[in-house]
């Protein structure tokens, strides 16, 4: 598909004589990996370990800004504020995607068939940050009485842009490749954005309002755990857990 697009694109551009740039083609094609064969959970529950922790924002968190939704009267303006940096009074940082980046070797994990729901409600995405496994469906729901377009613009997965003109419409999408993170945006409502972490295992979590997280059911071993934040970047830690061990870690982001 890419090659056809490139050829057509190239003919058009050369024919116009308007630009000398070479054509880079249309949307990104997915870099597909060989799908892991469905397996039962390779982790023995009797030995499974847990990593818990808290992500803290160091310094004075910026005050959230009110979102102006005047460009669409049908957006319920419920006093929504920006979600870029959300921290509680103790610095607990919300909406941080924490996941096992490395250490699982070649283990393959079952893919849930239950979809993860990304809701468009009050002209905001709910949740703002979430995770999903490769092959697991993401169900995108329009709960608003207005139009939304759902535009995902990943680097390695397939880019897509679909419209939902009516309240209650649903669109299901599955990601084919591991990617942290895939951004979503609505081009109709500029303030709407969300991020999904796509992984080939189930060991991920998003920090809650107090900045805490839990990664359950890990096989004993040594791992690289990464915490991702949309504005503050990433923090990485090495964590080793033994049989049935629970280890608590602290992740700090500087403001």
């Amino acid at each position: 598909m890419t090659s056809i697009r490139q050829v057509v694109c190239g003919i058009l551009v050369v024919g116009l004589a308007a630009v000398a740039a070479a054509c880079g083609g249309g949307s990104n094609e997915p870099v597909t990996e060989a799908p892991a064969a469905p397996v039962s959970n390779p982790v023995d529950p009797a030995t499974a370990a847990v990593i818990t922790g808290r992500v803290t924002f160091m310094g004075q968190a910026p005050a959230p800004e009110a979102i102006t939704m005047a460009s669409d009267p049908r957006c319920a303006n419920t006093g929504a504020v920006t979600e870029t940096v959300v921290a509680d009074a103790k610095g607990g940082l919300q909406n941080v995607f924490v996941y096992v980046k490395d250490g699982l070797g070649n283990l393959a994990f079952p893919v849930p068939t239950t979809p993860v729901v990304l809701d468009q409600k009050g002209c905001q995405y709910r949740p703002h940050v979430f995770g999903v496994q490769v092959g697991q469906p993401v169900e995108i729901l329009n709960s608003d009485a207005t139009l939304h377009n759902i535009h995902a613009w990943p680097m390695t997965n397939q880019e897509f842009n679909v419209g939902q003109a009516l309240q209650g419409l649903r669109h299901t999408h599955t990601f084919s490749t591991r990617e942290v993170m895939v951004p979503f945006k609505c081009d109709v409502h500029k303030w709407m954005n969300a991020f999904v972490g796509v992984l080939d295992h189930p060991f991920f979590a998003v920090t809650g309002a107090d900045g805490t997280f839990t990664l359950k059911g890990l096989p004993p071993g040594a791992y690289t755990v990464e915490a991702w934040h949309e504005k503050l970047g990433t923090q990485t830690q090495s964590v080793t857990v033994g049989t049935k061990e629970t280890k608590d870690i602290a992740v700090l982001f500087a403001g």
Binding site: R5, C9, L12, V13, L16, A18, V19, A21, A22, C23, G24, G25, G26, S27, S71, D72, P73, R74, T146, L147, N149, H151, W153, E159, N161, V162, G163, A165, D187, V188, H189, K190
Partner: protein, 332 residues
């Protein structure tokens, strides 16, 4: 009548370019994900209450584009049917082909998620459509047909022809660089003005900075060429209004354009300022083209014999003269 209609088409094209500028400046290019439909509706029946947020800009742009396309279709038909000069008839056909191509490029850029080469081509071809519409308006104007005899005429001036042509070519090259900057998101790659990171030349480089800096250098080159052209006209042809008017307007437009470019950066790409910068660039190009064509009016002598005959004919013997003009036009 045709002249007035061609002017309307040219003005509509300028409006379309402004609307296109708004689409890019507001980041609304993908707010309507499908094409040629809009959220599944036939484009012209898309409910107005759904023109919200980014959809307002994108859908308005599509409707204005459809209108301009229709106007150019009518213009091409009228020219083909009744215009005696073959080269003007051909311009109508070329304009029609260009606007159709432009529409297809617009559709592709939506369906393929704004690929940079297509978006740049879309922006660049828009300016050519504007040029074609303006050229047709100029060619059908009474002044052009009469060789501007009533406003001092247009003498043979090889220097003016060369300078004006060079200026027009440079303006178009500058527009392509601007479109590249715009569609590669390099508009604020150099965040300060008039300096570049506090210096005359950027202390570090990337592809975006290079494109941005090239656009700034291009602005200086274009301004210099425009001043040279206008200076030449005012010094050598100050009594020939067919030349002094476009030269004066061109100078004023370039001043406005540089101001808008600076304000685009200082305002962090305010969408109105940014879009005005786009359409003013088109007006600089078209004004320079008009000056160039008027400076080359004498070279159209043979091509214009039919048109002149038609003008005389309309004032005298009507159909007989048109018959003669058509015959002459067929020879051209």
């Amino acid at each position: 009548m045709l002249y007035a209609f061609a002017l309307l088409v040219a003005a509509s094209t300028a409006l379309l370019i402004f609307a296109g500028g708004l689409v890019t400046s507001t980041g609304s290019g993908l707010s309507v994900p499908d094409w040629p439909n809009s959220y599944g509706w036939f484009m012209f029946t898309f409910p107005i209450e759904n023109w919200v947020g980014g959809i307002f800009y994108e859908h308005s742009h599509r409707l204005i584009a459809s209108t301009v396309g229709f106007l150019i279709l009518v213009m091409a038909f009228v020219l083909w049917r009744w215009e005696p000069r073959a080269w003007v008839r051909r311009l109508g056909v070329i304009a029609l082909a260009a606007v159709i191509t432009q529409g297809i490029l617009g559709g592709i850029t939506v369906l393929w998620y704004l690929p940079e080469p297509i978006s740049i081509a879309h922006a660049s071809l828009a300016q050519l459509v504007f040029c074609l519409a303006a050229t047709i308006a100029l060619a059908t104007s009474p002044g052009w047909r009469r060789g501007y005899e009533s406003v001092g005429g247009v003498p043979e001036d090889r220097t003016l022809r060369l300078v004006a042509t060079g200026t027009t070519a440079l303006v178009y090259a500058q527009i392509i660089v601007g479109a590249t900057m715009r569609h590669t998101d390099a508009g604020l790659a150099i965040p300060d003005f008039p300096w570049a990171f506090g210096q005359l030349v950027p202390p570090h480089w990337s592809a975006e900075i290079a494109v941005h800096f090239a656009h700034r250098v291009g602005a200086l080159v274009v301004a210099t060429m425009v001043l040279a052209t206008a200076g030449h006209v005012l010094y050598h042809h100050r009594r020939r209004r067919a030349l002094t008017w476009p030269a004066a307007i061109l100078t004023a437009l370039v001043c406005a354009q540089i101001t808008l470019g600076a304000l685009t950066i200082l305002s962090r790409k305010h969408y109105i300022i940014n879009s005005l910068h786009v359409v003013t660039g088109g007006m600089v190009l078209v004004t320079s083209l008009v000056l160039t064509l008027r400076a080359r009016r004498g070279q159209f002598g043979a091509l214009e014999s039919a048109g002149a005959a038609a003008v005389r004919g309309s004032a005298t013997s009507g159909s007989a003269a048109r018959q003669s003009a058509t015959t002459a036009g067929a020879r051209v």
